[in-house]
């Protein structure tokens, strides 16, 4: 083979910084080819997707709204993936968090309840997300069941559960038979920050989450434990760290963040519980975590970028008449390039000249 991988002496710091940018550039190039293939002007299409949303105040605020759940979930997933724990069911934890918080909103709807409602909802969503995430974690540490498969299966279960609630017991009696709860009361709604935009207090919460995670990961024993268990499990065992406890811990944290993001989403921009509360935030957050190099501050930037693909996708649907699924294609291609470029941090690709036949032939 003329192309071989060779392990570097040490991780390349330069490529660690360049790699996400390179991945984004390669994604742009690939998408230009795709747009040309389906008969759209590539430059204009890229402009609609990635530049136009940044030129308008309304779409900029929508960017923040969409980035909020992505960043919150992405930070939790990054903690998991650093520790080599594979929670891929954040979408389900998001849904369960939304359901648990909505339960309080539905129960108090129209009862003149006080200002305790919203904090209670947020707490319920966070706790429910954490508990739901601990199911695969406990199946993993107690029974050795693959957390990848169990956490994903629970996404479908959570979806059906919410579907049952909004079509059955929680359906708005005045909702013309639509599968949705009644609109939440003002005391059960996350306040917006500015008049005329949907940017809400949850975005500040996401920033706090990023800062806390950065401090925990970089400055505390727990953060050291997470990094060590992921990078050198044997050494971590000798250091006395319990890998099983860490599986439960990282799952609980990421589930809590996903659940919190879920209840903030329904109590904020959406305002009621209904099917389709998430355009796949839980799965896109996986890409956010990797694009952000599993670093909380990186996740913040990556979350904004992937939010851009959602907003750009919506405007491209109108301006270019392309299907919404194109956004998922962009996200998938981006993840491929991120992973491929990350490989270059640890390995270097070398060309080996094919050896002359006489040298390798049996003499």
């Amino acid at each position: 083979m003329p192309l071989v991988l060779e392990r570097r002496q040490e991780r390349s710091a330069a490529i660690a910084v360049i790699s996400p940018l390179l991945a984004i550039a390669l994604t742009f190039a690939t998408m230009a080819v795709v747009f040309a293939a389906i008969g759209k002007n590539p430059l204009y299409a890229l402009y609609v997707y990635f530049v136009e949303p940044l030129t308008d105040g309304y779409t900029l605020s929508e960017l923040v709204v969409k980035a909020t759940p992505l960043v919150m979930i992405g930070v939790g997933l990054a903690l998991c993936y650093i520790a080599n724990v594979w929670n891929i069911g954040a979408e389900g934890q998001f849904t369960i968090g939304a359901v648990a918080g909505s339960w309080i909103a539905v129960a108090t709807n129209g009862t003149n309840a006080g200002h305790w409602v919203l904090p209670a909802m947020l707490a319920a969503g966070t706790v429910a997300g954490a508990l739901y995430a601990m199911i695969p974690a406990i199946c993993k540490v107690r029974f050795g069941a693959s957390e990848i498969l169990t956490s994903l299966m629970l996404v479908y279960v959570a979806d059906f559960f919410m579907d049952y609630l909004v079509r059955g017991p929680w359906r708005d009696p005045h909702g013309m038979n639509f599968p949705t709860t009644a609109d939440f009361d003002p005391v059960a709604t996350v306040p917006t920050l500015f008049d005329g935009s949907r940017v809400h207090a949850g975005s500040i919460a996401a920033l706090i989450v990023v800062m806390l995670a950065a401090v925990i990961l970089g400055r505390t024993i727990k953060g050291f434990e997470i990094r060590l268990v992921g990078a050198a499990p044997r050494a971590a065992r000798f250091a006395g760290f319990n890998a099983n406890q860490l599986v439960v811990f990282t799952f609980a944290i990421s589930g809590a963040l996903a659940g919190l993001a879920g209840i903030i989403e329904v109590a904020g921009p959406i305002g009621h519980l209904q099917p389709g509360i998430s355009p796949g935030y839980g799965f896109t957050a996986i890409i956010v975590a990797f694009l952000g190099r599993l670093n909380p501050v990186g996740v913040l930037i990556a979350g904004l970028f992937l939010a851009l693909t959602f907003i750009g996708g919506e405007s491209a649907q109108i301006a270019l008449k392309v299907p919404l699924d194109l956004t998922k294609v962009i996200q998938g291609i981006l993840l491929f390039y991120v992973l491929a470029c990350d490989s270059l941090i640890v390995y270097r690709v070398r060309f080996i000249a094919p050896q002359p036949r006489a040298a390798t032939g049996s003499a």
Partner: protein, 305 residues
Amino acid sequence: MIVEAIILSVIAASTPLLIAAAGELIVERSGVLNLGVEGMMIMGAACGFAGAYFSGSTIAGALCGIAAGTAMAFVFAALTLGLAVNQVATGLALTILGVGLSGLIGAAYVGQGITPAPHLYIPLLTDLPLIGRILFGQDAFVYVSAALIGGIWWFLYRTRAGLILRAVGDNHASAHALGYPVLRIRLCAVLFGGACAGLAGAYLPLAYTPFFIPGMTAGRGWIALALVVFSSWRPIRLVGGAYLFGAVSILQLHAQALGLGIPSQLMSSLPYLATVIVLVLISRTRATAGSAAPASLGMVFVPDR
């Protein structure tokens, strides 16, 4: 006859699971964990339907499905084998890409119809009571799935190549030291797995329901992955697992039709809950009996020179 109808529908529901899981079993036996089965399947479904729609032939559709699955698997192989990228993350990327791309390709075909795959008919044999239609009246996919399992069993346990494949999966360093081309063997295994997943996906719009809906695989690729664990990486046990899951998904449909007062959503989530429960049970017994997983499963291999 109700019993015959139920058995026929169980076979139909089990076949895609069995084909996809059979391919993944070979992939995992070679030491590679490809979590992108769902993505390869849904691409097989979209491309398979497109192929059958244009050609009017089930075989052409199935071939398109196989080609799509193989192409997706090649992307996976290029990253995980060529660039030594983490297999879990790449498999997830493959699924995300497959779901998006299939929606893009399949959008034009939603609501279109095709002639479903023909069923075998042998005079007299197919007319036999009870067993006639079950044994001699299926579509080609069902017979292919049976041949696939038999072939895989024979390959793994009765051929030299199968032994080498298992050796590569159990200890890639030793296999490499013995001079076997680890990465090339894994490439073949991954491509075979992609072809199977593509065929399994194509089965859904070509035979199971003769139309295409976006996301019609509905997690079957993930269930196929769980089945491989359930089977302890053995082809014969895979058949039992696939039919068990086919039966659960049919059971919930029949129970919904009877209207027992159980919420339909609870019944619909049964196959997914069953997967979790089965994984827990099977992993628990294995914790005492030692793991059956290929020892190098999911590990990156970079040949030194």
